[in-house]
Subunit: 160 residues, 6 copies
């Protein structure tokens, strides 16, 4: 029962919704690897280094959380890390379908790795990294949507 879980994503930037999933995964797994992809199909607001650093900053109290860059096939990365679980958060029906397809594909590519889903807390149901960036760009407050430290970095980044 030494389960190692990977929580993959772009995290551009991490929101309270992502952090809630991480915090709920912490007591369930021996190790939680937050895997930040550098293969994003869309341009990102933050560099891969910044995205990793922000998550490190807000998860530093959890001794079994690691934050890493990854590229390539997720199942190959999971193998290399000896992880047996992929964690994904579900918010909505459109999430559900995309996630179903990804989980099925990954199961075909490597049947030993199991995808487990957590329902996003209802307070974070409407949060997405892209909505947050749009609100910030239009001058709105991000209080309650991201940790303070991340709100500050978004403002810095957008003022450059």
């Amino acid at each position: 029962m030494h389960n190692i879980a990977i929580y993959p994503g772009t995290f551009d930037p991490a929101t309270n919704g992502h952090l809630d999933i991480i915090e709920r995964a912490v007591p369930l797994f021996a190790q939680v690897i937050v895997a930040v992809t550098c293969d994003s199909s869309k341009p990102t607001l933050f560099s891969i280094q910044d995205r990793i650093q922000m998550i490190k900053d807000v998860t530093q109290n959890y001794s079994n959380v690691r934050v890493e860059e990854f590229s390539g096939l997720l199942v190959d990365y999971a193998c290399k890390k000896e992880a047996n679980v992929i964690i994904r958060g579900l918010r909505a029906v459109s999430d559900f379908e995309h996630e179903f397809q990804m989980a099925s594909l990954n199961k075909r590519l490597n049947p030993k790795i199991e995808t487990l889903f957590m329902m996003t807390h209802e307070d974070n149901f409407f949060l997405s990294s892209s909505a947050i960036k749009e609100i910030a760009a239009l001058g709105g407050s991000l209080a309650g949507f991201v940790p303070n430290i991340i709100e500050e970095r978004i403002k810095q980044r957008l003022s450059n």
Copy 2:
């Protein structure tokens, strides 16, 4: 990391879809408790004893699976069993919504218990206990839908 998981349901009867979820949960948790409800809102084809026995028969090779009767609130039962995880299988969008509501309610009733979802294997996507009973009642074959031992008991039960 001594996770105990509860997999609750009516299991009237268990299908290959249920068994797939159990088999995938076995390596992830110290113990998997299949909790068969005796509070079903609808009349069942099989008695609670029969439903439990059938699952015991088909899971006897897994040393960390227990099959039990339960009644009352699921989160109270989980507490009593010192379980920290509820497992649910997801097949479809309508499942998703119902499950989302149940998981949110259970989280409110006891925030220490986490619901984890697994996507049903695509081969079992279309399986449901009620579809199986309907096919059997109309004389169709259940090969590939339930284990042989369960197919026989359905036929016995329907011929009474």
Copy 3:
């Protein structure tokens, strides 16, 4: 290319939505068999004879439409009729999921029979036999929802 199609349902009673599907199927298939089930899991307002007769009355101008009673497994009935196609109308997402499961099950039970779906015309999107019976019971007009001849029979039936 001698395709025989079965359009199965409870038809309690047939609505303009059902008739639209039949009329659009008529030019596509050598024969369209409207198969009225007598195995309905819920009590019906009309007897199986009445349900068949009403569809016969409103489809009598189509020489390749037959209306029949059926019971048992749909794929067995299709085999007996040498039909190779099942037709189903789709209105909504919840239809979609149920229909997907039925089509998958039927394909497993007999891979030679193909299920083809037609989208319900948007004018009939909101129609269902149960909505129509409820409106009629509450005294509302059914104009535009069912053919006149069927509206009259619903009124007769409800006034008994």
Copy 4:
């Protein structure tokens, strides 16, 4: 701009989700008529009088809220009350489809009456009258799900 809105339902019993919709409708309409149906297709836990009284108790501070019994077609009732708006809460995709069909039907039956939808507050996303009754029957706490006064009446009613 003298809009009169009807908020119809079974309210067996009213939940915090229903009350949230009422409170948000209060400032938008000259009058909000909570219309409690006595035509429920399922047996109710509370009598029509009890369901009305509970809503009266928890909405007594709003001078423009009325609570009434209704039966028959909703659009006919709206006409009689000179209401031009029907209010409905939306929680989920399955709600959405059913509501879409009801709104389309009502628009056909009387095009002068407009259905307006409000999204249920995310805190109440998972609430339903039936879930609440089930939790209460199994001995769970309803704190945060219904007003105190309604929780007490549910307990009284279930202990009889």
Copy 5:
């Protein structure tokens, strides 16, 4: 009861679906402000001035409709206009989810502003500005999809 409603969108160009929503909102609100965004994330076929002018042309008979350019956060714009309602049309499940997220975010940003949804008339269910532009570009007729005056301008614009 002096409700001011904002109907925001890109309107590139307005379709019969948009006009149906505007016409149904007219009798319900003291003022309906059609707010045309100049912050579209995608390139538009028409300039902001053209998009505004086309809606003005087809709504000129309604004395309580205003058409305006807006930029920035919608809730800030609503505040400045002393509007208390945002109107949105719903067509489909995917609309529903996106709209649910937007309405929840806006409620968090300013709880005094209420989002009300109208179901798109079933005749316009399948209409979207992008579908219309694609059909026009491929030489199809837009009769029944947009007002004549807008069809002409699309053709002019595409022939440049």
Copy 6:
């Protein structure tokens, strides 16, 4: 009953999911025209000639399958080919909605052409051309997702 069916798409490249639909359509129609669009709104990995050739290669055993390039409005192309049926595969709820809108639009543009839907086989439920290209780009195996001959061409194309 001389039905000619068009199966339109981008096919960049064709997957086992597409081939399954073609193979199931072959016995139902006098002719199946696979219509490969050269109007794709997104850049394609393969040229229109390559996309056509790959489908020809894997369908050469079916005498009633033709593979053609098409551009412009689908219903106009169907007319020119004297086709009376458009075939589409459905995988998921999001497919369903988009397809519903396309089928409704096409019915408006030409009511004589019927769109028929087939449910994608559950083994191919999770397949999409874009997922396949992503997996190949990341070095994963495509066995079971596309025919061997197409896997080879994807590798060639990506190694250029």
